[in-house]
Amino acid sequence: MSSPAKAKPATAPMVFTANRLRDGRVVWLAGAGAWAETIAEAHVFPPAEAAAGQALAQAGERAQQVVGAYGVEVALQAGRPEPVKFRERLRVQGPSVDAEPPAYRLAS
């Protein structure tokens, strides 16, 4: 994760995401330094508080809970955070293609 000194000042509300260390699943920084599995549970940091969010996310890395933490710019849609960038929307939704086995059945 970039150090706060190097990070560009936030201009939009931010949430923080990472991958859970144990299984690699995408998680989102919720309140009080906990990590949740859905962005709906993420704590939204106003631009002025983004540095504090980053510090909390880095603490999660140091505590070996998560790996690869970074901030994601969001817009609030009906009070819920939605990533601004397409890449992060994919991270929220999972692959846009079928992530299960090809749909076919072996002939009996």
Binding site: G24, R87, P95
Partner: protein, 570 residues
């Protein structure tokens, strides 16, 4: 996690009786168990917090474990794309037990699992070791899996079997102490046939196995190829290296690269930049290094070559006639089978046999994906009909190399039942696509759904056959894992102010007439790419002369007609 397994207590892997693959000896197996124990300990310490990610990352990468957009991804080595049925069944078991029931075959003839859990990796490593497989050197700045002809040992045009030398390269390069931390990753391709089926000039080093007039084996060596953000085709640096000096010469190439490759700038670190910048001087420096090497130390002993070659001896082919009556009747009586055979069945060096290419590109499917059930179906067909052998192609398909022609109908039936009989090999829907942004953390755009849209647009087999041979390659970022530069039609997804945009190149080729495609113009939005491909192909059809493939027409008429069709203002 399990404790360390005593290698002496392990049963030898149960190979199908005739499968010709590499053979591990006790040294290999002991090393593998040591590596499993070592990495298991590293995983335990990482999970316990004793290792930071900065400390752990280079360790996991050297063991093939990446962190991607949604999860860890585990890339397993399939040495030069060769599997036996037991190994493919084990991959199916791993897919089912530790992933989501499917795997993704890659352009490096490897397989990737997209949903691996870190805590499961030691168990997966043990399962792989049970069938003499691993994931070592599938990442990192080391010598990666060697690409080989998927029809090795089967193709009528083969001069020498490249698997023998690919195996020698594997043994030489695995944990080579001097080449474990190269300036960047290093990829070698080797072919034993005059027809290039390995994208030779797109590799860091390309090797052509040759025979001279005296029947001696030697090697033509190319260097400095690579795609990525600076695509360069390899140039020939030596016409002939004798078999006994093969490793010495490769060692010299790697030494020059290791010493002079750029370690300050990742974008200029591949050997292609060094070869491009040095020009003829690169080969001269290799020759000087080669001359300095103690040849006795690096001499490739003919006895060793013979021993390895014995592992790839031809299977016990029966004496059979070509074009048996049963096959001819099946072709005549079953149009669907005949259409599949026309695309998927290839001539074999042994009379009465054929090689079957299995499409992993169903219409609208994900290129290179196979479910656990499909892997098991292919393993069963390999055991019944192909001496237990399977190959993975760099085009992300599978091959049954040695099938009796009289069995082809039964093989087709088996493939059809498993959803694996799409008759599109070499056609417009036989698309190479990297995982793109749907999985990859580096990607700037999606690849897979673009491939799916194009595949669906051209689903009609009649239309595909009318278009003829045309390769579409799609990459989701400038790193070019989908080899878009060498596709007849190359598609590169980039991020353009937050939206996916797709640049199209035309006229690339990955075979003997290797070429880097030419950019046709400004990029296309995600929803407009398929229409753009349609326009390109309509332009080709309108301009083609009799017998011309897409790439032939392109070379004759150039970019202008395509540009005009794509960008003309209505």
């Amino acid at each position: 996690m399990n404790a360390y397994v005593d290698v002496t207590a392990l049963p030898a892997p149960a190979y199908p009786p005739h499968a010709r693959t590499y053979r591990y000896d006790e040294v290999d197996r002991e090393f593998l168990q040591e590596r499993i124990a070592e990495f298991s300990g590293q995983v335990e310490r990482r999970l316990a917090g004793a290792l930071t990610e900065d400390e752990f990352k280079p360790l996991r990468l050297m063991n093939g474990l990446y962190l991607q957009l949604h999860a860890y991804m585990y890339r397993i080595a399939i040495p030069y794309g060769i599997l036996n049925a037991t190994q493919l069944r084990q991959l199916a078991m791993i897919a089912r037990r530790w992933d989501r029931g499917f795997g993704h075959f890659t352009t490096r003839q490897n397989i990737q699992f997209n949903w691996t859990r870190l805590e499961d990796v030691p168990d997966i490593m043990r399962a792989l070791a049970d069938v003499d497989m691993h994931a070592i050197q599938t990442s990192g700045n080391c010598i990666r899996n060697t690409t080989t002809d998927e029809y090795a040992g089967a193709s009528p045009d083969e001069v020498a079997d490249p698997r023998v030398y690919a195996e020698i390269i594997r043994q030489w390069s695995t944990l080579h102490p001097e080449f474990t931390w190269l300036p960047r990753k290093f990829k070698i391709a080797i072919t034993g046939a005059p027809h290039d089926r390995v994208a030779l000039q797109a590799h860091d080093v390309g090797v052509v196995v040759r025979k001279n007039a005296a029947g001696e084996t030697g090697f033509e060596v190319w260097a400095g190829g690579g795609l990525g953000r600076t695509p360069v085709l390899a140039r020939k640096i030596r016409d002939w290296v004798g078999e006994d000096e093969f490793l010495a010469y490769l060692e010299a190439v790697l030494r020059v690269y290791n010493a002079l490759g750029n370690r300050d700038n990742i974008y200029k670190a591949r050997i292609k930049i060094l070869v491009r910048d040095l020009g003829d001087e690169f080969a001269e420096r290799v020759e000087a290094e080669f001359a300095r090497l103690p040849k006795r130390k690096y001499r490739l002993d003919p006895e060793i070559v013979d021993q390895i070659a014995s592992h790839f001896a031809p299977p016990p082919f029966a004496a059979l006639p070509d074009n048996p009556q049963a096959y001819a009747q099946a072709l005549d009586g079953n149009a669907e089978f005949a259409a599949w055979a026309k695309q998927s069945v290839r001539a074999h060096k042994a009379p009465g046999y054929a090689s079957v290419t299995i499409s992993l590109k169903p219409i609208g499917g994900i290129p290179g994906d196979a479910s656990a059930e499909q892997m098991e179906a292919v393993a069963t067909l390999a055991e019944r009909h192909s001496f237990g052998e399977i190959r993975v192609t760099h085009v992300q398909n599978l091959v049954l190399p040695h099938v009796r022609q009289e069995d082809l109908l039964a093989v087709w039936d088996g493939l059809r039942a498993a959803g694996l009989a799409t008759p599109n090999i070499g056609l417009i829907s036989d698309i190479i696509a990297c995982p793109g942004m749907d999985y990859c953390a580096l990607a700037t755009a999606r690849s897979i759904p673009v491939a799916q849209m194009i595949s669906e647009r051209f689903a009609s087999l009649d239309r595909q056959l009318d278009i003829g041979e045309c390769f579409i390659n799609i990459s989701g970022c400038i790193n070019a894992c989908g080899h878009h530069h060498v596709g007849h039609i190359g598609i590169l997804g980039v991020d353009k102010r937050g939206a996916e945009s797709y640049q199209i190149t035309l006229g690339g080729s990955a075979t003997n007439d290797a070429a880097i495609g030419e950019l046709v113009g400004p990029g296309f939005a995600y929803d407009a790419v398929t229409d753009a491909v349609e326009t390109i192909l309509r332009t080709y059809v309108a301009h083609r002369a009799a017998g011309e493939r897409f790439v032939d027409t392109y070379r004759r008429i150039g970019l202008a007609p395509f540009k005009e069709a794509l960008y003309a203002v209505a």
